[in-house]
């Protein structure tokens, strides 16, 4: 494909322009809010999009994996005896790194287990069958959490001081939010590098394109799909940690809305496309914040979906999705 080089820069240029315009409209604080909300959506959306890319499954349980991740974080922090801000910086760093690692590993493992028992047996089944099991799994996860942690919202320890602020261009911005955004970007870049540069990343991409051919190259499909689920779920686990750090509360029903938004993000960006999912997540964050600023908080959900519909009407495969050749 002989792409004109200007074309590749066009999308980022337009986005940058829009972002700048929006910045001047909503102001720095709301801009950071949008990035923060978007970062959480984007992290969850990545898992959606990876799983979709490799086995074409809308993994409705993914939002609940995120929810379980937040509970794992809560359990971890509170059973280690942390119940508030940690002011000792080295300790904080250790706790944060440890929490992220632990939550990501645990959730990745859970993702692999889910794939093994609920989806793998249905790999050759009619394509709606795994969709229904995905929703079944979502109910199971919700109920298990409800059994162990109770149905009420949980107050989770926010180890980073939520009141800490830094001055950014004349505006005080919450440190937690910046941390959330930074974590999201680091994880996204790590993922992108992993998928495009490593041998396993190539295996994942080739499996997504043609499972049989990948197998003939010596790729173990089952392992590759399991790794995909591991990474996707681990990212959802990271989002769960972020949820706890940022909002300090979680409940067993958190997953549905988050999953819905993340799924929307993934589709908006072009499902199966990692950059697209991230872009979609941030876009939805911006749409929500803008509708609130414009005084339409009651309608924000309708606006998000309305824009999604509009985008898809003009670009039927999402913003960065592959265009299909045939029309009918």
């Amino acid at each position: 494909m002989t792409r004109r080089p200007g074309r590749a820069l066009l999308v980022p240029a337009i986005l940058l322009l829009l972002a700048t315009l929006d910045w001047s409209y909503v102001g720095t604080e709301q801009f950071v809010n949008a990035l923060t909300i978007g970062a959480v959506y984007a992290l969850i959306a990545l898992g959606y999009t990876m799983v979709y890319g490799i086995i074409e499954l809308i993994n409705f349980a993914h939002g609940d994996v995120f929810m379980v991740g937040s509970f794992v974080t809560y359990w971890l922090l509170s059973s280690l005896g942390f119940n508030g801000t940690i002011s000792d910086l080295p300790l904080l760093v250790v706790v944060l790194v440890g929490t992220f690692l632990a939550a990501m590993v645990v959730m990745g493992g859970i993702g692999v287990v889910i794939e093994r028992f609920a989806y793998r047996p249905l790999r050759n089944a009619p394509r709606l069958a795994p969709l229904i099991t995905a929703i079944g799994v979502s109910f199971i996860l919700q109920n298990i959490i409800q059994i162990f942690f109770g149905p009420s919202p949980i107050s989770a320890p926010q180890v980073i001081d939520v009141q800490a602020r830094v001055n950014l261009g004349g505006v005080d911005v919450s440190v937690v939010k910046l941390f959330v955004i930074a974590v999201a970007f680091i994880l996204m870049i790590a993922l992108q590098t992993f998928v495009s540069r490593t041998r396993m990343g190539r295996a994942m991409r080739s499996t997504a394109i043609d499972r049989d051919a990948a197998q003939l190259m010596g790729v173990d499909i089952n392992t590759t799909i399991a790794v995909t689920f591991f990474i996707g779920s681990a990212l959802a686990g990271a989002a769960g940690v972020v949820q706890v750090l940022y909002l300090g509360t979680t409940n067993f029903q958190l997953g549905f809305q988050a999953g819905l938004k993340a799924f929307t993000s993934a589709v908006l960006g072009g499902i199966g496309n990692i950059t697209g999912a991230a872009l979609g997540g941030f876009l939805i964050g911006f749409i929500e914040v803008n509708s609130t600023v414009a005084g339409f908080s009651r309608w924000s959900e309708a606006i998000v979906f309305g824009i999604l519909v509009l985008v898809l009407v003009f670009r039927p495969t999402g913003l960065l999705g592959q265009q299909l050749g045939e029309r009918a």
Binding site: S206, D210, A214, Q215
Partner: protein, 252 residues
């Protein structure tokens, strides 16, 4: 053709142990009895061709050999190993390379990445470099296009890439499924020349073809399949002379 190629073993010696042996293999697709007792052998250093009409079971035979599908009964041996139920991805390490029907290249990955996928199971950097050189020597076009997405190649180039990718697995036995399908006559000749070259470099080849004329031109021996059974096996020369074969497959 290249300095890196090992010593060629052009003529099969029937006395040797077969490199590949299928023994009374029955394969099913759920309820369809696709292979109904296939027995065939490929000896080291041979080019063997598998001919037959559409739906005769040629592709299924290759998929059974490469472990994409497992037979319900019968055995498949590769060298001394029973590989009947070994999954495809493990067979690649043992030396079975398969360029599937319809090319099946990774359209969204670059040519280079496609070749790297072929080398997925291998880690020896020096060997790999040599193999890349070997493939680029066989198909100079691929070197020119190494940065291009596989899906944007022309049909012939895609076929070259598919074969090159299979070669990157460094196979002892290369399975080629309809390498000439859908190609212009001029390219068909090139592809068969490449098959000869690959063989000359020491790789055993099992090729499934529609184009019986060309296939029997390069092969040492051939099998003819009909509805999941082998109905005829002989040397290529004899098959070319067989009136039945001429009528059904050579348009004579």
């Amino acid at each position: 053709m290249t300095a890196t190629a090992g010593a060629a073993a052009p003529v099969a010696s029937q006395a040797e142990r077969p490199l590949l042996r299928l023994d009374d293999v029955h394969t099913f697709y759920v309820h369809v009895h696709a292979l109904q007792g296939i027995t065939l052998e490929v000896f080291p250093g041979e080019i063997v061709t598998l001919l037959g009409g559409n739906g005769a079971g040629k592709t299924t035979t290759l998929r059974t050999i490469s472990g994409m599908i497992h037979p319900r009964s019968g055995t498949v041996h590769f060298g001394d190993d029973d590989i009947t139920n070994v999954p495809a991805h493990k067979l690649v390490r043992r030396g079975v390379g398969h360029a599937p029907e319809g090319r099946r290249i990774f359209g969204r990955m670059t040519v280079l990445e496609n070749l790297q996928m072929g080398a997925y199971t291998r880690s020896n950097k020096d060997e790999l470099g040599a193999d890349f050189e070997r493939v680029f020597a066989l198909f100079p076009r691929l070197r020119e296009r190494s940065g291009q997405a596989g899906g944007t190649l022309s049909g012939g180039e895609q076929q070259m890439l598919a074969i090159g990718r299979a070669l990157m697995t460094h196979p002892k036995l290369l399975l080629l499924d309809e390498p000439s399908m859908g190609l212009a006559p001029i390219l068909v000749e090139q592809i068969f020349q490449v098959i000869r070259d690959i063989h000359a470099q020491g790789t055993t080849v099992l090729v499934v073809e529609q184009n019986a004329l060309m296939a029997l031109g390069v092969a040492h021996r051939g099998y003819i399949l009909q509805t999941g059974r082998i109905v005829l096996q002989d040397t290529a020369a004899n098959l070319r002379q067989n009136p039945e074969v001429q009528k059904a497959y050579l348009g004579g």
